[in-house]
Symmetry: D2
Subunit: 407 residues, 4 copies
């Protein structure tokens, strides 16, 4: 039995199979993967890693299982899955996940092949746990998989609190102690017990406040887009096999980006925090239909066209199109007056937050400061944007009175 001190949950007791899994290279690698990628460009204290987050998720899973009265091998499998749930992350976490998806056709929670044949598999087998079933739980499959990955998973409960703690932003402070105690299984579905509509809403609100402030802060988005583009050059050009990249940590990626002539410029900019600026920052309504669904190849073509029209190097134009806003918490199920209901049908807030997400949605086109005007004008034409004067002014900083770091 180990006791590990955590800045969020204080002492975390690790025992059973989890204690052995902790020492595997796959889990230890998470010590070197930043939880929030480039968010530390905005919030300098946000250097926490997937390792401490995984410990936190394991801790909350253990407590939830205990409250739910689930024991034995099935509980042990869930605890293993909780600790392992992020071993599929690429360097800088979500920042480079698209590269993995594009070249390996995998998301970070598809870990069957990472477990197979390695130390993790040996530990699981030695503890009479089926590795495939553990990997299924990581992917959110099955009743118990909902605890690891789903609308009410303990992953979310940990990261909202942890990201708030480490950024210093006061908005993600949900009551995870209460959430974990109020979980119930009803007809195979993980739900919140009676009297918890507001508890469920607080999860949504925490995300609704953390999103614009942290996860989608424009400086975080710009730096993430630069890192993703650079990684794409590196892996896409074939110098680095995607399967190898998948096992890298933050050190590997940063040094590789510096060493490759095609990416060293991006690396220098990221190292010095000498970031691209917004050439375009367009609202949802101003973006022509179809553009949101454009695939990687189409976006790359747009970037080349814009660069050509603006007469800049193609590496100096990044088009950053977020997907359709989603809100998976809206399907959270809560017991209300004895019946299980979806939060979306129960909460007035859900619709409002969904609308707010659309209002906050922005398409970005980024370029070096000195080229932002030219690139912005070119992008309006190429992408067929219908910007009004005010939005254009953002790139001139005319309406930027907020004195935040990097804003």
């Amino acid at each position: 039995m180990s006791s590990i001190k955590d800045s969020v949950h204080d002492h975390i007791t690790v025992e059973g199979v989890a204690e052995e899994l902790l020492d595997t290279p796959a889990v230890q690698r998470l010590r070197r993967i930043k939880q929030l990628g480039t968010a530390e460009f905005v919030y300098p204290s946000a250097n926490h890693t997937r390792f401490e987050h995984s410990l936190g998720v394991f801790h909350l899973a253990s407590r939830a299982l205990s409250h739910l009265g689930i024991e034995g091998p099935q509980a042990e499998r869930v605890r293993a899955a909780a600790l392992l749930h992020d071993i599929g992350h690429t360097p800088f976490s979500h920042n480079t996940e698209e590269v993995l998806e594009r070249y390996e056709n995998k998301s970070h929670d598809d870990v069957h092949d990472l477990i197979r044949g390695g130390e993790v598999e040996r530990v699981l087998v030695r503890n009479d746990l089926d590795p495939g079933r553990v990997a299924d739980l990581v992917a959110g499959d099955g009743e118990l998989g909902q605890l690891v990955s789903g609308e009410l998973d303990v992953d979310r409960m940990d990261y909202l609190v942890r990201d708030a703690h480490h950024t210093g932003v006061p908005y993600g402070t949900i009551d995870h102690g209460r959430l974990v105690r109020e979980l119930r299984y009803v007809g195979g579905d993980l739900v919140l017990a009676e009297g918890n509509v507001q508890t469920a809403e607080s999860l949504l609100l925490a995300r609704a406040l953390m999103n614009p402030t942290v996860y989608s802060h424009h400086v975080a988005r710009i730096s993430k887009a630069m890192l993703r583009r650079a990684t794409d050059e590196l892996v896409g050009a074939g110098g680095v096999p995607a399967a190898e990249f998948r096992r890298w940590d933050d050190h590997d990626l940063m040094v590789a980006l510096r060493d490759d002539p095609a990416t060293t410029g991006y690396a220098r900019r990221l190292d010095d925090r000498d970031l691209f600026k917004r050439a375009v920052w367009a609202e949802y309504a101003d973006v022509p239909e179809g553009l949101i669904e454009a695939d990687h190849g189409e976006i790359a073509a747009y970037e080349r066209d814009i660069a050509e029209r603006a007469d800049v190097d193609p590496s100096e134009v990044i088009v950053d199109v977020p997907g359709e806003p989603s809100m998976e918490e809206s399907t959270t199920q809560v017991v209300v007056n004895g019946e299980v209901r979806r939060l979306g049908s129960q909460s007035t807030l859900v619709a409002a937050l969904r609308k707010a997400q659309h209002e906050q949605w922005r398409l970005g086109v980024y370029a070096p400061e000195e080229d932002a005007d030219a690139v912005g004008a070119a992008a309006e034409d190429v992408l067929g944007l219908d910007l009004d004067a005010l939005v254009v002014d953002v790139r001139k900083g005319m309406h930027q009175t907020l004195d935040e770091y990097g804003a």
Copy 2:
């Protein structure tokens, strides 16, 4: 210059007229007035006082003035008003404020007469500050009065954080550091600078989460209603002049309630936390028109009728009708793209939260546990409520699966 350690703001430096005001009986009395009245019946740590809150409001006012570049006598008046802003509170703060309003026709922020002729006046005059103008600021009058009492006042910024800290509830954690820095005066109005729609929304959300969890928790409401009813008996019966009651502290009121035969029963129940239960807990839509506007006399008549019909003592029925839900933060003004706009016109959330307030609104009828059924049935008839079966069941605890203290 004094430096006072505060559990919320760490060191608070008190200087100038504030340092002298601190030692007046009017301010010292606030050490003996609980900030949240009977909320400690639900949250045992919520024993903070109006005194520490007043220091916090003074502190935030000082910082806001400094950010706004306001100095000299007008700043000194605001600082004095910040420290004095709650000297008009009756025992247990808002819990007994209605009694004051009924018998003295004053709200807690009408402090002209409290200042006049006393030590506070002497201190202000000695410092060349006009007592009447300071009292005006407490009431929120004038441009600078908005800082002390208004949609963006520092009062709210302190109490949301302080009440969250002392209840242990994680929901009121706004970013007061940022709020204070982003205040601006535009055309005589206090507004938030460009880029702060979400900052303004966070104030609303904090209140929207604190309201059901703390301020309107049903145990807080029941205990508050019992305390208010008992106080009303005491003051209304004429034994205690309202003007004297107004200067009492929590000690005075509790002992007086114990000593008076008409109120000793309530006092015993409050002391032992042997509270009335909900005989009725009716939604907004189930309450007949007009009832929400009923005045004190009409409510008292209903209570007598219900008691008679249920054959219980009149002192054992309390009808608790909250007013129409309001949301004064919705008029908060924010600069958006260079123009001052009302948050209510700018934020999708405002309408949603307004709707949520209506959904959370409840009319309560309270009675001793053993009489709750009879009183509930009588109240439905007398008040003309149209309750469906589920709501009636609340008083039977059938849908009360939440295991909170006192729920």
Copy 3:
């Protein structure tokens, strides 16, 4: 099962006999007894009560029992004792305990008679727990009594953290999670497991830092001495039987002090924080032998003599002689290299802290500001103090450069 939100331990789960005990008048009364008495005169946020502390002690006792593997009725008795351990406190806790000791010859942890014949006894008997044995545990008797009252008791672990949290002082932050996990029983003694000399030392250091900063801060001592003196007048004069006083809460005492002509002056001063000042503040070495052991009667005689010589009213002189410094933590037992050893024999720090305690020890004589010089001079003569010039100057404020509240 109840879940109660606590500002220190977050959610506290109360079940079994404790849940019933919670609702007894004896425990509910603790909501109205301030944990630190008049410490809020220095630290305005220190308004926490014996009630929340008792819940915290119950919580830590439950966790310690679980780590120690102790179950069944003996564990239930310890949990009951933990929740009840402070029901013997008089108003303002330790501030008036001497009055209880003088007139009733009881300390606050002698609760046999308080349990007997009341609601607490009924609850215990209904749960098949022997009331006498529970009261014994409160007094620290027996092996398990050490958990409730002893060098390593959970009482201390809660109050150090709680008092630090509520004063805002950063010094009492021990690692109670670790302390509770490292408790062991060896040969009937409660000890700390191997590897915990520094853990044990941290308890001592926390007290060593909290003592001068909070518990013995001179403003806390002066206000406490005034409250104790006033209470003594009230109870000693016979108007209020000591046995009745013992059941009072803070409200009762403050109102009684205001109402009695003999004590109303003290009450007014305490209400307005218009405190006596230090007329003498003498070091241990300057105090003649014998004075430290003087009993209440002798001290009272000194006070009268000093008053007479200084020509002031006897009520305006208070002589405050702390007892010999003690350090019960020095007998804490820790396993070192497989053997149980006393911390005092193991830790270099213990001797140093003991010496520091002597250095910080001060005899105080307090009087109204305008009489402090006369009373100081008279006290030097009457008490036979040998003060050097510097110490005398304290009362003139000549070496008081620290700008703390009330210093």
Copy 4:
């Protein structure tokens, strides 16, 4: 003016020359240097960087200067030095500083050559600040240099609080708000004002508690020794010039260690947290005279001898000899009764803590688990240690009952 959110100090306002310095590569590099090197092997949350610490030191320096009434160019120089004070750190901070000292004969606070000719120099000159004088302040030279580097510097005030916050250890929580307010200059020396002996002691105590728990935790020491040894191989073998190494960040070093055949084994072990174990853990008294003063060459010779005698590869033996315990805080100066005195002459605690440091001092010899017995025996002979049976047993884990992570 920028406002940066910090997890310790909340909002930090950066203006003037500091805002320009923030964007220099020398300061941005600190984002990639872990503050506590390998301490995250014990405390997984301890991933904070020299960058956020530098911002914190800048913040406290600004506040100290403001309290001291120091303004103009000399204040601006101190603020610049505060922000720059750690640009001389090598990867993983103190972990590899010995390598720098050995090959470059520089400590981390000798930054004249790092400033010269670079972006930092250009920024300083553009702001009319002399780069040489700023570098002098970093080294602690001159009256104002004491604020940046000395017994009462703001560096210490930030790191004690920050390291406690990020490890989750509750022991480093000094009252920096008070410390900064109580600084004074007396006769050219930075001292604490009257009434602050305990404030000064709290700095010492914080370090005395943080030292064994964090900074000298044996797992932190082992991992640090392995990292230092590996770095020494890399730089010492001549493959990497020391002057180049000095400008590396954590990414560079870890990848270089992996890539070099001579160090890849260490890198693999550090990546997987597959650490050496203690073959010897000897107390101060058991170590022969002279060994503590042995230089790098002598230690290396001992390591080779031990390896040969134990028949293991020389890379598998590390001898880790800490220097003589020091306590620079003991020379802290405090005003006592109007005179400036050294804390060491004033505080009983200083001597005790000095003694405790000697008691906690340990010489370590580390080796792979399977070789620890053989290496331990060989080391006893080669180093001439006089170990008693108990100390030897440490390496067999016989007295290791503490279940901490990695203990």
